[in-house]
């Protein structure tokens, strides 16, 4: 009888979920945005997404092979990294660049730290940052969605036939830069940017593969919240702080600074708040820490958008907050119920 009896420490029953099921939930939540991206960018989206996923998975498998570890593909986190990376690059990005970015994301961003759970920075954002640093031009070339919103202004009157088109954020950046120009003929105001709100909501605007459709992202985010895959702290903190920090300049000069609503809907704000900043591995694990993290992400994003050189700051603010996550964790120690034990 002894053969099939096992002994192990308590407890002996467990909740029915696993890392894999959590990751699967995230993938499911990303599906609406994926559908939207295919609708808007057609084959480009398919190329980018599939090349990123395949490279991520293959890189992780190779790393497992090198370390002579059992395969860790089963936890599906590499797939998420691939999808998120694909979602955050321009649709026109050539496939070879997707491959380099994904390989860098998985190998340097994740596997050198020991794989799932070890990485300090969000792998997908590391991949994107590396691409931005390496191929700046490619990373700022935007294709027009297949289903273009007619109201959208094109980048320059001088070149009406251009295939590329500015993103809403680029317009708002222009408005900020034009703030001190007296020459009214060259003045750009936020009204242009603000006019893109509607298209931002459904997604028929220029931008990264997966970020354009606010609707799809919110659906996915709500799914994550309802299934308990993520807690509400980080998304809420990001959105609230972004809203607050973008209201301040808007109140100062509403022709140069875009409206808070605009900031919430455009760029990587929603995908960042729901899918990227919430990456459990790279965000703090206490509720208080998550608040600080979220506020940091939202605030830094708006800071970079309004004061920095880049039109968008989601990636950098997430990476920056990732880097201080260990510090946050260290200083947001929770006190046990009943106070600190004196032993």
């Amino acid at each position: 009888m002894a053969q099939n009896i096992i002994v192990s420490p308590s407890p002996h029953i467990y909740k029915r979920h696993s890392t894999r099921s959590i990751m699967l939930n995230v993938i499911i939540a990303l599906v609406p945005a994926m559908v939207a991206s295919v609708i808007f960018f057609r084959t480009r989206a398919v190329y980018v997404i599939s090349s990123c996923i395949i490279t991520c998975v293959v890189s992780e498998w190779l790393c497992n092979l090198v370390r002579r570890q059992p395969s860790s593909l089963g936890d599906l986190s590499a797939v998420i990294t691939g999808i998120i990376l694909a979602f955050s690059v321009p649709p026109a990005l050539p496939v070879w660049a997707c491959v380099i970015g994904s390989a860098f994301a998985i190998i340097v961003g994740k596997m050198v730290f020991g794989g799932l759970g070890g990485n300090v920075f969000n792998p997908a954002m590391i991949g994107r940052a590396f691409l931005t640093a390496s191929f700046g031009m490619l990373m700022t070339t935007w294709t027009v969605p297949a289903t273009i919103d007619k109201n959208m202004p094109t980048i320059s009157p001088a070149n009406p036939a251009a295939m590329t088109q500015a993103t809403p954020l680029a317009w708002s950046k222009q408005a900020i830069k034009a703030r001190n120009i007296e020459d009214t003929s060259k003045k750009v105001t936020t009204s242009v940017a603000n006019s893109m709100l509607r298209s931002s909501f459904f997604g028929s605007r220029g931008g990264c593969v997966g970020e354009t459709s606010a609707l799809a992202l919110v659906i996915g985010g709500l799914y994550l919240l309802i299934t308990g895959t993520i807690t509400w702290h980080i998304p809420l903190a990001v959105l609230i702080s972004a809203f607050v920090f973008s209201t301040i300049p808007y109140l100062i000069d509403s022709t140069a600074y875009a409206s808070p609503l605009f900031h919430l809907m455009t760029g990587g704000m929603l995908i960042g708040a729901f899918f990227i900043a919430t990456d459990p591995v790279t965000s703090p694990f206490t509720a208080k820490g998550r608040w600080i993290f979220g506020i940091g992400v939202g605030g830094l994003t708006i800071l970079i958008r309004t004061l920095g050189e880049y039109p968008e700051g989601m990636m950098f603010s997430i990476l920056l907050m990732n880097s201080v996550t260990p510090l946050i964790d260290k200083f947001c120690k929770i006190i046990p119920a009943g106070g600190k034990p004196n032993v």
């Binding site: 002994v7 696993s18 009943g338 034990p341």
Partner: protein
């Protein structure tokens, strides 16, 4: 239920000093006879549950209570299984008959220990201590662990006896505020107690509280939080804030001991889980081998993989079926692979994804993942900085962890290790 042929009565059924055997090999003993005497204050004597002969006095290991001498008793022919005495408790009852001293003596003589699991000698708990007076007594009828139902059974069947026990505890400590806390998934028990309190004039002061069903509601600090909204200092015990918590079975035993002067030699035990053929509650003599009890319940099914002394959350897995039942063992749970879950069966953890679920689930507000990982990496100082010592080992964190990490086990290991290092220190 037949009386088992042979009993192994551990001389350490409790926390505290181990008893001295007062019988010799080949001696005849009768049911209720003292066989192990307790000289130390924090200790409780041991009695023979049956008539029979002492076959041997030998060292024996118990998974919970450690290694101590056990008295092996071969039961004689003339044994009648003991019956519960609940039906002797009516609605009229007078605590005034007993002085606190008498109650203390009776409890001490009967060798009553906490039957909620910890096994702390009850006499010590109910001894009035002027320097930290107890103002509230809570009778713990939560039974929060899944599968276990023995407390529920006695709450329904021994209602009056338990109330009598509660009143006696109150009398012993000169304390008027008495609560009975029952999880709200046992409405029948709540109703039974409400009715009984109404029917018993002396029990008018007792308040029956239905608390939320949420593991580990039965843990004393959580129960106190729910009922009194007070926090027990981390790493401390309830008497520090003037509260005493006793299990319902303990209360019942107290009533029996004080009124009928009968020692604690039998206790109710739940045998359950899908690995057992016939789930049920049994009134079992202390010292009976677990295997025998399992046989009584129909035996193991073919797919049983885990035999647990206690409930599935805090119980201890054993493989040796000769392990004797003690005064503290309220349940034997037999689980099959299906209940445990495939990945956990393999005992393979995956990397922590830092999801924070363990932190949210910890009822004492600890950071289990930090502590566990520190322990894993031998960083005991760090573990201490995250208040490892405050962990109640409830197991919530291990239960919830999606990465299959044995957090509670690791924390427990760390506590053991630190205790050991401390012991080695002075040298």
């Amino acid at each position: 239920m037949p009386v088992p042929k042979q009993l192994a009565v551990m001389l350490s059924q409790h926390i505290g000093a181990i008893c001295k055997p007062v019988v010799n090999k080949k001696d005849r003993v009768t049911a209720g006879q003292l066989i192990g005497s307790a000289d130390a204050f924090v200790s409780a004597p041991v009695h023979s549950p049956v008539n029979g002969t002492v076959k041997d006095i030998t060292l024996c290991s118990h998974p919970v209570l450690g290694r101590a001498e056990a008295i092996i008793i071969e039961s004689g022919e003339d044994n009648q299984p003991r019956r519960p005495c609940a039906d002797k408790f009516g609605n009229s009852f007078d605590t005034g008959r007993f002085s606190p001293e008498q109650i203390f003596d009776a409890v001490r003589r009967a060798g009553i220990v906490g039957m909620g699991g910890a096994g702390f000698p009850t006499s010590v708990k109910i001894r009035a201590n002027p320097s930290s007076p107890i103002h509230t007594v809570i009778i713990n009828g939560c039974e929060c662990e899944p599968f276990i139902t023995c407390d529920y059974r006695i709450m329904l069947e021994w209602t009056n006896q338990i109330i009598a026990g509660a009143l006696l505890i109150g009398r012993a400590l000169d304390c008027k505020d008495i609560f009975i806390g029952i999880e709200d998934n046992k409405p029948k028990a709540v109703d039974a107690f409400r009715q009984a309190v109404k029917d018993m004039p002396v029990a008018a002061g007792i308040e029956v509280v239905a608390v939320k069903t949420k593991y580990p509601q039965g843990g004393e600090r959580h129960l106190i939080k729910s009922i009194l909204n007070k926090d027990v200092p981390a790493g401390g015990i309830p008497p520090m804030i003037g509260v005493l918590v006793n299990n319902v079975a303990t209360a019942a035993a107290i009533a029996e001991a004080v009124i009928f002067d009968s020692p604690l030699t039998y206790r109710p035990v739940t045998v359950s889980g899908s690995g057992i053929k016939r789930v049920g509650n049994f009134y079992v003599p202390v010292g009976m081998a677990a295997g025998e009890l399992i046989e009584l319940a129909g035996g193991l099914t073919d797919d049983a993989v885990k035999i647990i002394l206690g409930g599935p959350m805090m119980g201890i897995a054993v493989a040796d079926l000769s392990t004797p039942i003690t005064k503290t063992s309220g349940a034997i749970t037999i689980l099959t692979e299906k209940e445990i879950g495939g990945s956990r069966m393999r005992g393979k953890e995956t990397p922590c994804i830092r999801c924070g679920r363990c932190i949210q689930s910890c009822p004492v507000n600890l950071n289990p993942t930090r502590i566990a990982h520190a322990v894993k990496n031998n960083l005991f100082e760090t573990a201490g900085q995250y208040y490892m010592s405050a962990c109640t080992e409830c197991g919530c964190c291990s239960y919830i962890c999606p990465a299959d990490i044995e957090l509670a086990g690791l924390i427990k290991t760390g506590k053991i290790f630190v205790a050991r290092q401390k012991k080695l220190m002075p040298k």
